[in-house]
């Protein structure tokens, strides 16, 4: 039986990262949709119903990646979609959020964080794991 191609949504305001990660994921057989704006991505995701979302952290705001991740987790249709946050700010610990965001940071918990550029092997492994986990959870329900 041929498996349906899993779909991943990429969100980043840097088109080079979109390009790079799209290539990486398409090479592995995923179907990839790219967005450079989180609002637009949010609208599109309701149609696409992706298996995984990879979003940049610092886009329009310092923490727009977190905001997006939170929106996805709270969305009735997208709540079970795993979210990976990637960032060019090297270490999340050394990165200073305002106290307001700090709370969000702890409460929303994306499923994984990666520094840019992602180390290919680990990144692809994690993507696979998260999609499989979601599949299993879906079947159980």
């Amino acid at each position: 039986m041929q498996r349906k191609r899993e779909c991943i949504v990429l969100i980043d305001d840097d088109r080079d990262f979109l390009e790079m990660n799209r290539r990486l994921l398409e090479e592995k057989g995923y179907s990839v949709s790219c967005f450079d704006d989180s609002d637009e991505a949010m609208r599109a995701m309701h149609c696409i119903k992706p298996d995984l979302v990879v979003t940049d952290l610092m886009m329009a705001g310092l923490d727009s990646g977190f905001k997006l991740s939170q929106k996805i987790k709270q969305d009735p249709m997208l709540g079970d979609v795993p979210v990976i946050i990637v960032t060019a700010a090297s270490s999340l610990q050394g990165f200073s959020f305002n106290p307001h965001s700090q709370g969000e940071f702890e409460s929303l918990n994306a499923d994984a964080y990666f520094d840019k550029p992602v180390s290919t092997h680990i990144f692809l492994k994690r993507v696979r794991e998260l999609i499989d986990k979601k599949g299993e959870a879906g079947r159980e329900r």
Binding site: D14, D16, E27, M58, L62, A88, A89, S96
Partner: protein
């Protein structure tokens, strides 16, 4: 021993007067004498240093009783000793009522006189001494009271908030600054009125009523700590403000803890600055790491063959890496310029220069880029005196800084104008200023972004301009450089149609 003790002898009987004088002088007193009441009174008023007076009751003119009354009124401490020939209780009582110390009946022996006088003087001395002691005590009491009120005035007027709690966990002292801090908090949080210690609540009130759990905790932990001495310092947020709180125990002489004092210093402004600074550092690190990560990522793909890519695709990835690294280098140089300006190390040397020449240089720099995008880049100086190389418009500015300014603005105009568009530059003299207008037929700027584009790192996130590389530092640098030269920059734009940037620089010194 009686050397400087002055005694006045008053008697109309020369014999007795002289006799008394002799006896007293021999005893070491300094003696003055008078023969009648009137002259005695005058002498007494003039010379205020009489310690004692020996007065005959029967005097011509002003009698002894009247004289006594007057002298007592002038100096109540003077020992007044009456001499009377007719010793009677009545006259004695009368004299004593008028302030006399005692009386002595004529005739008397020299010893009797001296004994009475010495007793009187002793009593006087005691009186004076006890009075001066009392004065001193009053003085020191006054000083203590003043000292206390000085201390409380100082505490009251301190800019830092001060709170003192006793071992019953009651607040017993709170200065105006502390009241203000909590009043302000209460004004911001009216719904919490129940658990809030307003600045105006009468003292003592419980520590637990303070509107800040962290502060309550700090005070409690100083009470609980056994080690000596403890001073706990911590940054605490109360409402909108951030305070550096120092809490230390109040100890008595023997070291027992009788309370806790908390001092709250407002560091809100410093905190804001620190936040702004660390925001800037995160922005910079993000802007530096992004292009490096792009280059690293692309080169990794090519080197490790992670993704199948033909030669053209590989070339494109190398080209993207190259462009990002080059832009990064430009950004770093812009950052250096900005930091030099902020630290006052950017050297501005203003002189009279021909701004047309600077514009021409900047235009030439952008020529290539404009040609690539098929953009009509056109410069014409309509104003100014003619010369061999075209008209001259003299301004008072730094040539290097003006070049950076104009290159940035013209570069933006070319960058944010789609293929086939146009960029027109015009220079005109306008009173005290020369105006350089750079008008493009490009993407334009939304009204709400017109101010923001001069902020560091601000870049518009439009669909059309998404792929255009840049740092968001150019216009920030432009604005700062012009400020240093008493110039200015402004922008007018119709979104989707084009923009016009206008730079003004002074003509005169």
């Amino acid at each position: 021993m009686n050397d400087d003790t002055q005694v006045l002898v008053v008697d109309d009987d020369t014999g007795i007067r002289e006799g008394c004088c002799r006896v007293l002088r021999k005893a070491g007193y300094e003696v003055h004498s008078a023969g009648d009441g009137k002259s005695a009174d005058d002498l007494f008023v003039r010379n205020k240093n009489f310690a004692a007076a020996v007065i005959d009751l029967q005097l011509p003119g002003m009698d002894g009783i009247e004289l006594t009354r007057r002298m007592h009124a002038v100096d109540p401490d003077c020992v007044l000793l009456m001499m009377t020939a007719f010793a009677s209780i009545e006259t004695a009582v009368q004299a004593i009522k008028q302030g006399a110390y005692g009386y002595i009946s004529k005739p008397f022996t020299p010893d009797e006189l001296l004994l009475q006088l010495t007793n009187g003087l002793k009593k006087r001395e005691l009186t004076l001494e006890s009075r001066s002691l009392k004065k001193e005590r009053e003085k020191s009491l006054l000083e203590i009271a003043q000292e206390r009120s000085r201390c409380s005035t100082i505490i009251k007027c301190m800019a830092d908030g001060v709170i003192v709690a006793n071992t019953d966990r009651k607040i017993v002292l709170r200065n105006a600054a502390a009241s203000r801090i909590f009043e302000m908090y209460r004004a911001d949080h009216p719904q919490e009125a129940s658990c809030t210690e307003p600045g105006s609540v009468p003292l003592p009130c419980p520590v637990s009523a303070l509107p800040c759990a962290e502060l309550i905790g700090l005070i409690e932990s100083v009470f609980k700590t056994e080690e000596e001495p403890v001073i706990i310092s911590k940054e605490v947020v109360v409402g909108e403000g951030t305070y550096m709180v120092n809490v230390s125990p109040v100890t008595e002489g023997d070291g027992t803890k009788c309370g806790v004092v908390a001092v709250l210093r407002d560091i809100t402004a410093r905190k804001k600055l620190e936040t702004a600074k660390s925001m800037f550092v995160s922005m910079v690190s993000h802007e530096i790491q992004s292009p490096l990560a792009v280059a690293e990522g692309y080169l990794n793909i090519i080197l490790n063959d992670t993704v199948a890519a033909d030669e053209a695709q590989q070339r494109e990835m190398i080209n993207r890496s190259y462009l990002r690294v080059r832009a990064l280098r430009e950004m770093v140089s812009e950052l250096m310029n900005l930091s030099a300006i902020d630290t006052g190390n950017f050297v501005i040397k203003r002189s009279f220069i021909n701004i047309n020449e600077v514009v021409r240089c900047a235009v030439e720099c952008m020529h290539e880029k404009a040609k690539d995008g098929k953009i009509d880049l056109f410069f014409e100086s309509t104003n100014g005196r003619g010369s061999e190389n075209g008209p001259v418009v003299r301004v008072f500015a730094d040539k290097n800084a003006m070049f950076i300014v104009l290159k940035n603005i013209i570069e933006n105009a070319v960058k944010y104008t789609p293929t086939g568009g146009s960029v027109r530059i015009a220079v005109e003299e306008n009173g005290l200023y020369a105006r350089i207008r750079v008008r493009d037929s490009g993407y334009g700027i939304k009204p709400d972004e017109k101010c923001k584009i001069f902020d560091e790192f601000y870049r518009s996130k439009g669909k059309l301009t998404a792929g255009i590389p840049g740092t968001g530092l150019g216009l920030c640098l432009v604005k700062k450089l012009l400020e240093l030269q008493e110039g200015s920059v402004s922008v007018e734009s119709v979104y989707g149609k084009g923009s016009e940037f206008t730079v003004c620089v002074p003509i005169e010194r």
